[in-house]
């Protein structure tokens, strides 16, 4: 058909249908939110001057920093554990598969809090002394009562890393399985050894695939660092709790803590966004 055979149409504006329903819904939601905010302000549950006084206080900032360090280190260790567990799980070796599956079941299946308390309280009772010696050395490397070695920080790090390692193991396994068999066959057919296939083909792609899920886990770990307050580690929640138990400004100090958790979450989200830009999925 040529343009000439089409009857000429005047250039008319196009009017789209109005979404009245979504406007009404939006207004309703806004009204509900505004009512809640106004009610909270009227009830004076929060004294902003107290929040301002504590938000950048050295104790709180130190607590936030400790939480960040604990959560970040735990993610790094959990990723290493998870990588090993995932490789064991896909190895096809029945013994390795059984060991890794059991690990994932136990550490994913029990509350993190129980695991933290276990490492801090139960292990020193089970093993009162830690003795570590290397051959050909006169003095042992470590010979000390367990309570002196297992500090709240170490117990929290061990607890969070091992629990999170189980989750990361499953996430990384999913990433490995998402790289199609065909690419593995192609790499093998080129003459790559299994180690090369892993390092050149599987890890680069699995790594990209797991970034969003790993970002999620990082945020979860940063918040889960608050569990360490139960074993006396001076992280953000513990510091806030200590302060409000003497001045009774409970809501203000919880708000301060919440603010710093939000800052950490923003930090983790930013890292995730950058990583997804630098390593896009193709």
């Amino acid at each position: 058909m040529t343009a000439a055979s089409v009857p000429s149409i005047p250039d008319l504006p196009i009017i789209h249908r109005r979404r009245w329903g979504s406007w009404v819904l939006g207004a309703l939601a806004l009204f509900v939110v505004a009512s809640i905010v106004i009610a909270s302000v009227r009830s004076r549950i929060l004294d902003l001057s107290v929040v301002g006084e504590y938000i950048f206080s050295p104790m709180i900032v130190m607590g936030a920093f400790n939480a960040l360090v604990l959560g970040t280190l735990a993610l790094v260790i959990a990723s290493i554990i998870g990588f090993v567990v995932a490789l064991m799980r896909v190895s096809g070796n029945p013994i390795l598969v059984a060991i890794s599956a059991t690990y994932v079941y136990l550490f994913r299946g029990t509350p993190m809090l129980i695991q933290l308390v276990f490492w801090f309280n139960a292990v020193p009772i089970m093993f009162p002394n830690i003795y570590l010696a290397l051959p050909f050395m006169d003095a042992p490397l470590i010979n000390a009562p367990t309570t002196a070695v297992v500090t709240p920080f170490l117990a929290a790090l061990a607890g969070l890393s091992l629990a999170e390692g189980a989750y990361m193991g499953e996430i990384i396994r999913g990433g490995i399985l998402a790289v199609d068999k065909g690419q593995r066959a192609a790499a093998t057919a080129l003459g790559m050894t299994q180690l090369k296939v892993l390092s050149q083909v599987i890890i680069p792609q699995a790594g990209r695939i797991i970034i969003p899920a790993a970002g999620n886990q990082y945020i979860m770990l940063l918040k889960s660092s608050s569990l360490a307050s139960a074993i006396g580690y001076l992280e953000l929640l513990r510091v806030a709790t200590d302060i409000y138990s003497s001045n009774f400004r409970v809501v203000e100090l919880l708000a301060v803590a919440a603010f710093w958790y939000l800052v950490m979450t923003a930090f983790a989200t930013a890292i995730q966004t950058v990583l997804e830009k630098v390593f896009p999925q193709r």
Binding site: D180, G182, Q183, A185, A186, A187, T188, A189, L190, G191, M192, T193, Q194, K196, Q200, V201, P204, Q205, R208, R282
Partner: protein, 262 residues
């Protein structure tokens, strides 16, 4: 003990069988492929064509028999009347000289076309990046895709992806190229580009084993047809003869069905 095959044969299959438990793909397959010959493996779906190709580079282990590529026993070491499977490193070394092209291209999705073609020389042969890039660009040029060197697989058409995959296999300078249905995931027009590329390789004397349902590839490019059916080798003939005067009744039926389908 059967005698070692002639060195001049690019591929020798000697009484090769493959089965998984009770499921048999093929039994007692024997044939030789002289250097420079292009062989089309034909046969109905499930005849074992893909499996046979995957046995040649030991992606599948065989259940009986022996496979030689240029005189090398593939996958095993003969010692005191028994065959011992080689190590991962040794098998990888044997695979370097056997190229493979897949139905679904199987390009590395996180690498550009150029990086895909470079991957063998760099990661397997430990060539320098510069040297590998130069070779890769030549090969991409040869398959008509020099302009797409920087494109990722997701940015290429199926035909282009398959030509990159062929270039990737060629970068290892394979003595034998195995192609498993290289055109069957492609529209006829795109398939034609790939057939042209393969035809040019055939003219250069590249030894090839091509499993295919594409009759233009089998008739126009291959020197010889090996027809597999019913768990074994049913006919082995020059491709001219196979298409004009098939000897076996099964081959006749197979060709008649194909003609009906088209």
């Amino acid at each position: 003990m059967s005698t070692a095959p002639e060195q001049s044969h690019a591929v020798s299959m000697v009484g090769v069988s493959k089965k998984w438990g009770a499921v048999s793909a093929f039994t007692d397959v024997t044939f030789d492929v002289p250097q420079g010959e292009v062989v089309a493996l034909l046969g109905p779906s499930g005849a074992g064509k893909s499996t046979l190709l995957r046995c040649v580079n030991h992606l599948e282990t065989i259940s009986a028999g022996r496979i030689y590529v240029h005189g090398d026993l593939i996958g095993y070491r003969l010692e005191k009347e028994a065959l011992y499977e080689l190590t991962d490193a040794d098998i990888s070394r044997q695979r370097q000289k056997i190229g493979m092209v897949f139905q679904h291209f199987n390009l590395f999705k996180h690498m550009t076309a150029l990086q895909n073609v470079m991957s063998g020389p760099v990661h397997v042969l430990k060539r320098s990046k510069a040297e590998a890039a130069e070779l890769a660009l030549d090969l991409l040029d040869k398959v008509g895709l020099k302009a797409k060197a920087g494109a990722y697989p997701s940015e290429l058409s199926g035909g282009q992806q398959q030509r990159v995959a062929i270039a990737r296999a060629l970068a290892m300078r394979p003595r034998v190229l195995l192609l498993d249905e290289p055109t069957s995931a492609l529209d006829p027009e795109l398939a034609q580009e790939v057939v042209e590329t393969i035809r040019r390789l055939a003219e250069e004397g590249q030894t090839m084993l091509i499993a295919t349902h594409d009759m233009s590839l089998a008739r126009d490019v291959a020197d010889r047809v090996i027809f597999m059916e019913g768990g074994g080798l049913a006919e082995d003939a020059p491709s001219k003869d196979f298409f004009t005067a098939p000897k076996s009744e099964r081959a006749r039926q197979f060709l008649a069905r194909l003609l009906q389908a088209h």
